[in-house]
């Protein structure tokens, strides 16, 4: 037990260092596809001054947009001296583009005053473009110098996202590592989750009372991962229900969920050796409309009086309507969702609630398969990474605030920059 914890912590620290390193390296490697332009290479255009317009802006960098799918050039400029100060008459900037410095320039867009960046997302890859930006006011407009040629191109790797990739890899690899580890017969300790302990009892109760079990997989479609979680739990529960020979009623609000759930339940019944007991009618579609669905589910509840209700998936406002109605008919209710806003209602009105992450862990718990359980341990590594990063960075920032040291602050900011999503 003790050794293993150490392993996890070490892994966490290694992870933290590992994600930091590639970023350190990435800092020094400019994007090879980018064409940086400094002011030296910008031709000066001095014959188009408009006396009445504002002072011109100064083009700073014109280059291919980084880590994108091409067709995009980024321009940045220094604001016109008359923007926000001076004559303060700039109303905006207009960006012009041509395929040769002498060519016919056409407008590709405008930016509001105070803005110093523009992304031209309408370029054709491989074509060389020349740009200038014109500061305009009611009186007229003043162009900047024309930039040197720039070409847009798509990149094969989104360098801006390198840290996401590394962090993702570490978490995924630790999950995979523990899956394999568990498969080799390694036993893990897993804490109890009250809602899951109660599943068998809840199904048994319905059997004794001779009343049906209601299963609600949320109101979202299969493109929500919570629905997928709900359906995988259904697969485990259906097996028990088939064994107990209890009636299952599953109204759904999405047709694809209906198809998937039927497939899942059918196979559970086959596995239980009771394929004859399965019927497509166990799962029926009502409507895609959230409240139409809940109106009908409420009707089913008060008329059929299920002994047990499962609510596992993605829920919105309907959660409380269902849970309160279920409560009024005296059903045992087990809920689970990763919708933070609905958790309080389930906690208040249901007997057991799987909170957030527990929903995704539930199918692994119920399966009892070592490899599934192993993945849960992998998740814990993720939590350790989270805690270590928060600890280190809060520590650095606090230290910087107390000592007033700019170096520590700098270090903290750099690290924080690496651990950021965009």
């Amino acid at each position: 037990m003790h050794r293993k914890n150490k392993t996890i912590i070490v892994l966490g620290i290694v992870a933290f260092v590992a994600f930091a390193c590639p970023n350190l390296l990435a800092q020094d490697m400019p994007d090879s596809a980018a064409v940086d332009l400094t002011l030296d290479s910008i031709a000066v255009l001095d014959d188009v001054q408009v006396a009445t317009g504002p002072a011109p802006a100064r083009l700073d960098i014109v280059r291919d947009a980084e880590g994108d799918q091409g067709s995009s050039v980024t321009l940045t400029w220094h604001l016109s001296p008359d923007d926000g100060s001076g004559a303060d008459n700039v109303t905006g900037y207009e960006i012009f583009r041509a395929e040769s410095p002498e060519g016919e320039f056409e407008s590709v867009g405008t930016a509001s005053k105070g803005m110093s960046q523009f992304e031209d997302a309408t370029t054709t890859d491989g074509v060389t473009y020349y740009y200038y930006v014109a500061a305009f006011s009611d009186a007229g407009s003043t162009p900047s110098e024309i930039s040197a040629g720039v070409r847009s191109s798509p990149q094969w790797f989104n360098s801006k996202d390198a840290n996401t990739l590394v962090i993702g890899l570490i978490i995924c690899l630790s999950v995979i590592y523990f899956i394999f580890h568990a498969q080799k017969g390694k036993k893990f300790f897993l804490r109890k989750i009250a809602g899951l302990e109660a599943v068998d009892e809840a199904i048994g109760r319905a059997t004794e009372m001779g009343r049906p079990i209601l299963f609600i997989p949320g109101i979202m479609d299969m493109d929500d991962v919570q629905t997928v979680a709900g359906i995988t739990i259904l697969g485990r529960i259906a097996r028990t229900i088939a064994d107990y020979d209890t009636k299952l009623n599953m109204p759904v609000s999405r047709s694809i969920v209906m198809t998937t759930a039927r497939e899942t339940i059918k196979q559970a019944y086959v596995a239980a050796g009771r394929p004859d007991a399965f019927s497509d009618d166990m799962v029926h579609y009502l409507t895609d409309e959230q409240f139409g669905y809940v109106a009908a589910v409420d009707g089913i509840m008060v008329r059929e009086k299920p002994a047990t209700c499962f609510y596992l998936g993605a829920f919105y406002a309907e959660s409380l309507i269902m849970a309160e109605t279920g409560n009024s008919i005296g059903a045992i209710q087990i809920a689970g969702t990763a919708m933070p806003a609905q958790l309080p209602f389930f906690v208040a009105a249901c007997d057991y609630t799987l909170i957030g992450e527990e929903l995704f862990a539930a199918s692994a718990y119920l399966s009892g398969e070592p490899k599934q359980l192993g993945s849960l341990k992998g998740q814990d590594v993720g939590k350790i990474i989270a805690m270590v990063v928060i600890l280190i960075l809060c520590g650095l920032f606090t230290l910087a605030a107390i000592t007033g040291s700019a170096d520590i602050l700098e270090l903290g900011n750099t690290l924080q920059g690496w651990f950021s999503a965009s």
Binding site: T164, L190, Y293
Partner: protein, 247 residues
């Protein structure tokens, strides 16, 4: 039994008369809206035929509503309009000159595979479509959640615990920062699966539960308000638009 039946006929008669009077006084549309509202509210008393009527009507109308929206909003412009634009010319002329996108054959084929579910002999083929759907969900969500809910939420939790304001050290803010720090940490500890909640770890986990309970209580309290405003909207309709009792 007979008395009960008689009572229900009386109620029905009253509803019909009231409905008729309301149509004469207020017009058909407001009347329909008002009565459907009352039918739904009657569920609060108990299940009854009027609620059943509203419920069944709602299911039928809304199922068709979403189908029509799906057909005209997705199927026509995004499938047929992309597969073979001239085909949708008569209904959506704006699209007919677009270039065809042959890749849209993929969803067409997958959609048809899904429909094969209806056949008992090749029904298993629908699993291919399901596999595609679930694979897409898994692939897309993995990175999305990693980015926005994992990395970014951690990033948001990295700050100096020691807070200073215009007048120097700020005790209140410092305490709040420490509270956030401790709460996030203990909240995470609660979710640990592979470690028993004992000893110091157990203290952390129990603190975590307290944090979660405060969170749930706060959300619940906050929500009470939202739920009531929905009722206010309905009451405004009933007493204002329908009965005309509000200024």
């Amino acid at each position: 039994m007979n008395g009960k039946q008689a009572a229900s006929y009386v109620v029905l008669a009253i509803v019909i008369v009231a409905f008729a009077v309301s149509i004469v006084l207020k017009g058909l549309l407001v009347t329909v809206g008002a009565f459907l509202t009352l039918f739904i509210f009657s569920f609060l008393y108990k299940d009854n035929p009027y609620y059943k009527f509203a419920e069944h009507l709602f299911v039928g109308v809304s199922a068709a509503y979403w189908m029509c929206m799906g057909f005209w909003g997705t199927m026509v412009p995004n499938l047929f309009g992309k597969l073979y634009p001239p085909m949708v010319g008569p209904v959506m002329p704006a699209l007919k000159d677009n270039a065809a996108e042959p890749f849209m054959l993929i969803p067409l084929i997958l959609g048809i595979l899904l429909l094969l579910r209806l056949s008992s002999s090749v029904g298993w083929i629908s699993r291919w479509a399901l596999a595609f759907i679930v694979g897409t969900t898994a692939g897309l969500n993995l990175i999305r959640y990693l980015r926005s809910d994992f990395i970014q939420q951690i990033n948001n939790t990295t700050f100096s615990l020691y807070a200073t304001g215009a007048t120097g050290f700020n005790l209140g803010e410092t305490l709040s920062n420490i509270a956030i720090f401790v709460s996030v940490m203990t909240g995470l500890i609660y979710f640990f699966f592979s470690k028993e909640h004992k000893g110091a770890f157990g203290v952390g986990a129990r603190t975590g539960i307290i944090v979660l309970m405060v969170t749930f209580g706060a959300s619940f309290g906050y929500t009470v308000m939202a739920r009531i405003s929905l009722l206010v909207g309905r009451m405004q309709f009933l007493f204002g638009d329908w009965l005309g009792m509000m200024q």
